[in-house]
């Protein structure tokens, strides 16, 4: 089956100005996302993982133009949506939906579920008004809630139920791509599993595509087809799920995977404990951004930026950005912990 491109991100940059001095001039930039490119195919789930502040949410927001990207293009089904007038974005907002950690944080607490959903349908002009109520009740059933709950208010729901309402709101406009930004992170595991299963069922049923943003590698392994690992605004590795977990190549990915506690007391662990903290994205390290914490860093790493590339040691759809992945994999480099 040929894969069909749905969204293609190219050279995306998002710099936030830092104002300073008494004139309030821009004195510097937070390079939150710094030149990243990737493609999402129809019907798949691509995840972005990485530690706090690496640029995951900024990427999601830039795709939707919730903030205007500094540079780069976002091509959705053939149209570069960064180049169209802002007014025309509305058309695309219907196809591109986002679910946040707590969708109700951004919703008027005095609105009932029904009015939240019908507002979304009204803005996107889906269905004539007299058919919306039936659709709302159907949507609530789809996400595992009861039709009579349509007239309830946000505070009457638990966290897991609120997340279901967020999903219903996203679904109400028949989107093609849903960006899930830490959508299950705040939920307890028993409820999280309910919502993850729901997302999978909806994908099967409606052919949805997901861009899944999460810092939880367990959730990501469960839900993804492909995974993007970010560090300080850059993509350091991109691969299908199995390659990433079974054959990670970038030293950061390896450290990240080895740092996660395993829920098995018999697991044999060889943990790579990274030194220090993540550097600031205001003045990111020159060369490879990971060099300040990388156990293999050399002088070349401190000056020359590695590009994403594949290699004989991995599948051709698997890419990582490290000068020395072949040498490290062959055991020719000595780590300096």
């Amino acid at each position: 089956m040929a894969k069909k491109e749905l969204l293609k991100v190219e050279g995306l940059k998002q710099y936030f100005p830092i104002k300073g001095g008494f004139l309030g001039r821009t004195v510097n930039h937070v390079k939150a996302v710094d030149d990243i490119s990737f493609t999402i195919y129809e019907g798949e789930t691509v995840s972005i993982v990485g530690e706090s502040g690496c640029g995951k949410s900024t990427t999601g927001r830039a795709i939707l133009r919730l903030e205007e990207p500094t540079d780069g293009s976002v091509v959705f089904q053939g149209t570069d949506i960064t180049k169209i007038p802002k007014g025309e974005m509305r058309k695309f907002r219907k196809d591109l939906q986002i679910i946040f950690q707590d969708p109700y944080a951004s919703i008027n607490p005095r609105q009932t579920v029904a009015s939240v959903l019908s507002e979304a349908m009204h803005i996107q002009n889906v269905l004539p008004p007299d058919q919306r109520r039936a659709r709302i009740e159907q949507l609530l059933e789809t996400v595992g809630l009861r039709p009579y709950q349509a007239d309830r208010y946000p505070h009457e729901f638990s966290g897991g139920q609120r997340q279901r309402i967020g999903i219903a709101r996203a679904l109400s406009v028949d989107p093609k791509l849903i960006i899930c930004d830490e959508a299950v992170s705040a939920l307890d595991v028993s409820i999280q599993a309910q919502v993850l299963n729901l997302l999978e069922e909806l994908q099967d049923e409606y052919g949805l595509t997901y861009l899944f943003i999460s810092h939880d590698l367990g959730v990501v392994r469960h839900i993804s087809d492909r995974i993007i690992v970010m560090y300080l605004g850059k993509i350091v590795e991109i691969a299908d799920k199995n390659s990433l977990f079974e054959n990670p190549q970038h030293p950061y990915t390896k450290a990240l995977l080895s740092a996660i506690p395993v829920p098995d007391p018999d697991a044999v662990k060889s943990r790579i404990v990274l030194k220090g903290d993540v550097p600031s994205p205001i003045d990111p390290p020159q060369g490879c951004r990971f060099h300040t914490r990388c156990p293999f860093a050399t002088d070349k790493c401190r000056t020359e930026e590695p590009v994403l590339r594949t290699s004989d040691i991995m599948k051709d759809t698997h890419e990582a950005a490290c000068h020395y992945m072949e040498e490290i994999s062959a055991g020719k480099m000595t780590p300096n912990y």
Binding site: S190, H222, D264, A267
Partner: protein, 345 residues
């Protein structure tokens, strides 16, 4: 467990809060033992009573909260019966605590050094200079680089991982016998979490203290704990050694947690969630609190609350579930990690 000395024994602890909607029994039948020099984990979902359990032990409840029953035996002495003055001696000296969000317990207007020395001065009765030099030592102990400089900095000048290290330094400043760590790494990134967990383990080995690790992360439990108490809706439902808990769990809730957990270390076909949700504290089921969500619940479960029963000869395994009693007449097959198994003890 008989051969092991226990430093803290919590017996049938009961803590309630007075609220507008009536009394909330946040902790209702919590029992566990902390063996000397070991780590015990308290695990459970949000609202299950983990934090209130630890605050009850230290008698640091909010003003509307009250511990109404049970005992907390620290080296044989019931902390619930001590005077407030005697309790102050214990807190920080013999039992200390670190909290989930370090910023709430660090004072923004004092330097890190001033805050650690303050603790040292109170508990060790030392002068300013000695206290400050011990603070530097403490920061070194918890792995903070250039501690002489760091003592002069304010909390906001430090990263999240660094602040958590300062909290640990403060908690350890007076060589406690028990460290209570309430979600010490939940707010941190995994690579920083790994550093902090390693640090706690290392300090425990060197100082020989006991640790109560409160967490909702089963990975953290598996990696750091020797014994585990699983809490559900204010009660301990299962207590055992960590290996038994993961390899041979007995309570249907523990099984449900393990079946719901998406894992990064193995491929799973499907997650099996626990249906429904945690009961509200105002509408606790009269029988087993897990009965509305339990896949094997019987009539008995809905009618009558099970006690926390020892299943081993000693107290090393305790289960609150009718399945393990003589009265049980329901099914005894459950699913774990995608496989059916018979659990009846």
């Amino acid at each position: 467990m008989n051969e092991m000395e226990s430093i803290l024994v919590v017996n049938n602890l009961q803590t309630s809060f007075g609220t507008e909607a009536g009394e909330v029994r946040a902790v209702d039948g919590v029992s566990f033992t902390v063996p000397k020099g070991k780590t015990i984990g308290i695990v459970g979902e949000s609202g299950s009573g983990k934090s209130i359990t630890s605050l009850s032990i230290l008698r640091l409840l909010a003003s509307n909260g009250k511990t109404k029953g049970g005992e907390v035996l620290f080296k044989g002495k019931d902390l619930l019966k001590l005077s407030e003055k005697a309790m102050r001696e214990i807190r920080g000296n013999q039992i200390s605590m670190i909290f989930q969000e370090p910023m709430t317990s660090l004072n923004p207007v004092y330097t890190v050094g001033q805050q650690i020395s303050e603790t040292i001065k109170i508990h060790k009765k030392l002068g300013n200079k000695e206290a400050m030099s011990q603070s530097v030592e403490m920061l070194k102990l918890v792995g903070i680089p250039s501690p002489e400089k760091r003592v002069k900095q304010y909390p906001h000048e430090l990263s999240g991982g660094m602040r958590q290290r300062v909290m640990i330094a403060m908690a350890l400043a007076c060589d406690p016998e028990i460290l209570i760590a309430d979600e010490p790494t939940t707010a941190l990134d995994v690579t920083i979490q790994a550093q902090i967990l390693e640090l706690i383990k290392d300090l425990q080995n060197r100082l020989g203290m006991s640790v109560i690790m409160i967490t909702h992360d089963l990975g953290v439990v598996a990696e750091t704990c020797d014994y585990v108490a699983v809490m559900y809706a204010g009660q301990v439902v299962e207590y055992s050694d960590v290996r038994t808990l993961f390899k041979n769990p007995k309570h249907p809730y523990t099984l449900g947690l393990l079946n719901s957990l998406p894992r990064h270390d193995v491929d799973q076909e499907k997650l099996i969630p626990i249906k429904g949700m945690v009961p509200s504290p105002h509408e606790m089921p009269v029988g087993c609190r897990f009965a509305p969500r339990c896949p094997v619940a019987t009539e008995l479960c809905h009618k009558k609350q099970p006690d926390l029963l020892s299943t081993g000869g000693d107290n090393s395994e305790q289960i609150r579930c009718w399945m393990y009693s003589e009265e049980w007449d329901g099914e005894s097959e459950v699913t774990l990690y995608g496989e059916k198994r018979t659990v009846k003890g």
